[in-house]
């Protein structure tokens, strides 16, 4: 007998009290494979959202998730890498994570997915988690075959999911509304 789920509510403006920035550094900045992912969250008026919280969930560099349902034991787990990061936005709407590019993970029908990071966005004025994905600009071929990216017909909308090179970092700005709204996923 299915149970009806508890409804979602906004995190409100005071979530920092209870949701500390667990780990904006998923790996040490000294890791030879470390990458920085930076971005700004904007609202529909183009104003930075200073009270948002961003969470990342990703596979490790071998493409393995640190979770019991990823049973591909031929791929290594990494000590100290749990694949989860969380950061509030700062007074300019900005966030920054240090992580590694995840490996390839299988998708529907065994079709490989392009390397990607699952993203959750929470904020005052946001009544339920908004989900999206970060893809990588140096994976043009894999991105062109990715089941999620190819399901988005509008090329400009599709491009909102691919981070851009920015002075040694990868930039992934999140626009909640507007002509250049980020593509959000019904997870």
């Amino acid at each position: 007998m299915p149970e009806m789920p508890t409804p979602s509510q906004t995190v409100g403006p005071f979530f920092h009290i209870g949701l500390p920035d667990i780990s904006p550094e998923l790996v040490s900045p000294d890791d030879p494979d470390a990458i920085r992912i930076v971005g700004t969250v904007f609202d529909g008026e183009g104003e930075p959202v200073v009270d948002a919280m961003i969470e990342l969930w990703q596979a490790n560099r071998a493409g393995r998730y640190a979770h019991p349902e990823d049973t591909r034991e031929e791929l290594p787990l990494e000590d100290g890498f749990d694949g989860f990061g969380r950061s509030g936005t700062d007074s300019e709407g900005g966030f920054e994570f240090t992580t590694v590019k995840p490996g390839v993970v299988p998708g529907p029908g065994g079709v490989p997915q392009a390397p990607h990071i699952d993203v959750s966005i929470f904020a005052r004025g946001v009544l339920k988690r908004i989900a999206t994905r970060i893809y990588f600009p140096d994976e043009a071929d894999a991105n062109a075959a990715d089941p999620v990216l190819t399901s988005i017909e509008d090329p400009e909308e599709r491009a909102t999911l691919v981070a851009v090179e920015d002075d040694g970092a990868l930039r992934f700005d999140i626009r909640l509304q507007g002509d250049r709204q980020t593509a959000f996923l019904a997870v």
Binding site: E3, L176, Q181
Partner: protein, 242 residues
């Protein structure tokens, strides 16, 4: 529908939000949604290994007193001491074990220990308002805290939030991530609270209201409220991962 995934067996997806239970992102009574709710339709995706996995945070991350918000400072906080307890269940009524619950709340006067909160109510030096717990093998959790006060906000003329406690859960997967608010029975502010009422179904709203629980009160010491939290269920019977 289950999808075949090379080398990872079958992935059994979670039930998608059918937009019946959760509030719509654009809820005009809640003014801040007007500039923050995405306007383009969300893009439906089939769940893959990326969505049926999620962060695993177990008992090793929790301190001994993290569940007791009345013992985090030198003195005791002011207010009505309460025990908040319940179970975390999946959409098939089974316990969600060993899963992290984070909560935060205002003090008994309705003020948050946060620099952005300028409500002219007293701070309580003995109350931060943050707690963490991990469910046991039957999905149970228990916090000790004080009942939060109602507080004003500027959403509309003379707007007050119904008393609530924010609760955050991961569940078993990226797909089951939930942040909600728990309310108290009989609150006279429900009818004018657009965040509470953004959940459209009356029975759905009732699932955000805790139940006064005389059996769990501690005589001469604390009242108790029971609140079970149900996360999204799966499309089909999942592999037993425990």
């Amino acid at each position: 529908m289950a999808e075949q995934v090379t080398g990872a067996g079958e992935v059994v997806g979670y039930r998608h939000d059918d937009e019946q239970v959760d509030p719509p992102l654009l809820s005009p009574g809640y003014v801040a949604t007007e500039t923050r709710a995405p306007k383009r339709p969300l893009i439906p995706i089939a769940h893959t290994l990326s969505e049926v996995t999620g962060p695993v945070y177990g008992h090793d991350r929790i301190g001994e007193l993290d569940h007791d918000l009345t013992r985090q400072h030198a003195g005791e906080p002011l207010g009505e001491r309460i025990i908040l307890h319940g179970r975390v269940l999946d959409g098939d009524g089974r316990p969600v074990r060993d899963t992290l619950i984070e909560l935060w709340q205002a003090n008994s006067a309705g003020r948050y220990a946060h620099q952005v909160d300028d409500h002219p109510a007293p701070m309580d030096p003995n109350f931060t308002g943050a707690g963490r717990a991990v469910t046991d093998s039957e999905g149970r959790y228990r916090f000790v805290t004080i009942k939060p006060g109602a507080y004003p906000w500027r959403n509309h003329e003379n707007a007050w939030r119904a008393a609530h406690i924010h609760i955050s859960l991961f569940g078993t997967a990226f797909a089951t991530r939930l942040v909600t608010q728990m309310y108290f029975p009989g609150d006279p502010l429900f009818y004018q609270d657009p965040i509470f009422n953004a959940v459209r179904g009356e029975r759905d709203r009732e699932r955000m209201i805790s139940r006064f629980d005389l059996d769990e009160t501690v005589p001469e010491w604390a009242l108790a409220y029971n609140f079970d939290i149900v996360l999204r269920g799966r499309e089909a019977t999942p592999p037993d991962i425990h």
